[in-house]
Amino acid sequence: PLGPVPLQKEHQLQFQMMEAAHQHLPVSADSERMRQFLPRNPYPTPLYYPQHPLSNSDTFEFFNRLSIETLFFIFYYLEGTKAQYLAAKVLKKQSWRFHTKYMMWFQRHEEPKVINEEYEQGTYVYFDIEKWGQRKKDGFVFEYRYLE
């Protein structure tokens, strides 16, 4: 029973501006932080590949089953995400420890020779991101104050 109400001139002007803006709607990237290693335009993969994250893929259990290289990959390339957090959590569970000075993960290779209040010294394994593999470091002094 109300019937239409004719648009006034100002509405028509507004509509023209809206229509022009409609030609270039914001895209999701406009509101997202730039991520160095996560391009916005995903590479098209064959459709028989999984196209969406697996349903339980953001859980600790799922990450617990990933390989050590994958965990390091996620940690170093998915900065500031839950995935990075979960990868770190699993690494810790597997006795890796993050050294904030070198920003690298270390794991005891053997019982350290020296352990005191401030540090422990011994042979450690670390993950070399340059060579993308594990290396061994003798006599490394692991200072607790750099323990994340």
Partner: protein
């Protein structure tokens, strides 16, 4: 009559809140998991 509101790309039956992964008014679905900021320790600023 009207939109089928269940077909606007939102899981209205979800028990969790929708807003943390909401892809915005123009999105078709939730935001990418890797876009959602997660409070990680400052030390993890690797790049």
């Amino acid at each position: 009559l009207g939109f089928d509101l269940t077909a606007l790309g939102l899981n209205l039956n979800a028990t969790d809140s929708l807003y943390p992964s909401f892809g915005g008014p123009w999105g078709e679905g939730p935001v990418r998991a890797e876009d959602v900021e997660f409070p990680v320790p400052q030390e993890y600023n690797i790049s």
